[in-house]
């Protein structure tokens, strides 16, 4: 058996590598401007303004969103023992998007804090509905089905609101917001998002050891002292706060929570608990890099980051599935 020290070293190496990638991506993001591309800035007041007011909030929000999406994806895949689970599976991201779109529909979008607050509120309401549908201690199948029902209802309601939009501009605003973007985000957004994202991430990171035990099955995990109903609360509330915070400021960004845990799982000896922190760092780095790519696109309407992650993520995921099939492992 590899000694705990050896295992710690390999895990430390992974965490240090991912942290370095994240730091490098963040620096690169601060140096990258829309239209101007990658450039070393002059240190005048205009540059400082751009860095503090535009690029720093954008970079921080991309990192926070990516981190919570990667983390939530890793937790949900471990908890549901389903490699196709992603942060949207519980319905909290679609309920978050729905309430944010409702706020926009009623013209509250001009207030900087209204959309983030609405989004977080929507995620919490979505979690409450999930609990009502499933009870506090439910089987995996019922939770997935209830999440699918919430997703279907919220998507239909969102489509209805788009359909009934008072004018084409309002519809465009709602539609573009839903595609995901870090454009025009300020430090106020960062301050609004950090507390729920931080609390949610803390709750999710604390589930690691229980997720390892859940690999052995629900009954065995309970026999080993895992409180599965408390875990349900911890994961549901953690996802609602963290994913809700992400959706509320950045819109719906797919594939990050699905792909990042898949990529990193073999590097963590397939242990769900060991995957959490690396997935958070990997998700953060991936979304910061994707946001740089968005800014390096040719002039014109900015490509939405949710569209970019789906465009890159779809084919990548298909390739990954082929690779997994060849490895003879499909849990």
């Amino acid at each position: 058996m590899p000694s705990p020290v050896a295992r710690l070293h390999s895990r430390s190496a992974l965490l240090i590598s991912l942290s370095l990638v994240l730091i490098a991506a963040s620096l690169l993001s601060l140096l990258t401007g829309r239209g101007s591309g990658l450039a070393w800035p002059e240190w005048d007041w205009q540059t400082q303004l751009i860095l503090w007011e535009i690029r720093l909030p954008r970079t921080v929000l991309a990192a926070v969103s990516g981190a919570v999406l990667g983390l939530a994806g890793a937790v949900l895949q471990g908890w549901l023992r389903n490699p196709l689970a992603d942060p949207g599976i519980l319905g909290v991201s679609s309920s978050s998007a729905l309430v944010a779109v409702v706020a926009m529909y009623f013209g509250l979008g001009s207030l900087a804090w209204s959309i983030p607050l609405a989004g977080i509120l929507g995620a919490l309401v979505g979690f409450r509905v999930l609990l009502m549908l499933t009870g506090k201690e439910s089987g995996i199948l019922l939770i997935i089905l209830a999440g699918a029902a919430i997703n279907a209802f919220c998507s239909a309601m969102t489509a209805l609101l788009l359909n009934l939009a008072p004018n084409p501009f309002a519809m465009q605003d709602m539609l573009f917001w839903m595609m995901g973007s870090f454009e025009h985000r300020t430090l106020d957004h960062v301050l609004l998002v950090l507390p729920p994202a931080g609390i949610g991430a803390y709750l999710l990171l604390r589930t690691g050891r229980s997720l390892n035990i859940l690999s052995l099955g629900h009954d065995t995990a309970r026999s080993l002292g895992v409180s599965t109903d408390r875990l349900y609360w911890q994961i549901g509330l953690g996802c609602a706060l963290a994913v809700g915070a992400s959706v509320s400021t950045a819109g719906v960004i797919g594939f990050v929570g699905l792909i990042v845990p898949h990529l990193l799982r073999p590097l963590t000896r397939w242990e769900p608990g060991q995957l959490l922190l690396p997935s958070a760092l990997g998700g953060a780095a991936l979304l910061v890099l994707a946001d740089i790519l968005v800014r390096l696109m040719p002039e014109g309407p900015e490509l939405r980051i949710g569209v970019l992650t789906a465009l890159l993520g779809g084919p990548f995921f298909l390739g990954l599935l082929r690779h997994v099939r060849r490895q003879e492992f499909m849990p």
Partner: protein, 256 residues
Amino acid sequence: MTLALHDVTFGYQDRTIVSGLSAAFLTGRVVAILGNNGIGKSTLLKGILGLIPTRAGHVMIDNKSVHSMPPAQRAQRLAYLEQQASCHWPMPVERVIGLGRHPYGTDQIDDALLEQVMQMTDTHALAKRPVTQLSGGERTRVMLARALAVDAPILLADEPVAGLDPHHQISVMAQLRQWTLAGRTVILTLHDLNLALHYCDDVLLLGKQDFHFGDADSLLNPGILSRFFQIEAKVTEVDGQLSLVNWRQATVNKQA
């Protein structure tokens, strides 16, 4: 450490499976729970562990109610091997075994205990292999090693030898017997009546209407076998050990 069941009743939804059962499992004994398919052997184990609610009665360890213990404390006293236990992710075998230390707030197993449980279950050669790539029998042994790694005073094992080849069936039963010498109790469900006769001190026979609990050698007699299992067999001494021979389906007496 004595595990006592006081008039316990377990079931699912509107169906009662085990009703009014009382028994005391003494330290250092290997106890086989026997009965036909669907009679409630696994339900009984789950009820003892608190995995399903107790409808009536109490499960006590040394006069303390098992179900009012904090989960970690209960897990330190009762180890459990689930029927057809498996691990969802292809984690290395040695890592899976280490998960048995969870009730003690760690997921690291010390080398001496790991060595002991691997030797008992003959899983040394599998240590580095992904658990999902093992055969059914190999996986059962690994999962038994995981349950032994809890090092609890009482082990509840649901069909620990199901799917094992004859060599490993005998070896596992002998090792479980050895395990009780250090003051532990092993309670397991079985279908092989000869293994129960050869390796178990006591048996708990579950029937549709009633149960019998007592010494294996005296309980496993032709009358009881006919009543509980609808089989006819002779109990005879072979090389100084009682064995069941000449099994056949019974033609009468199906009321058990």
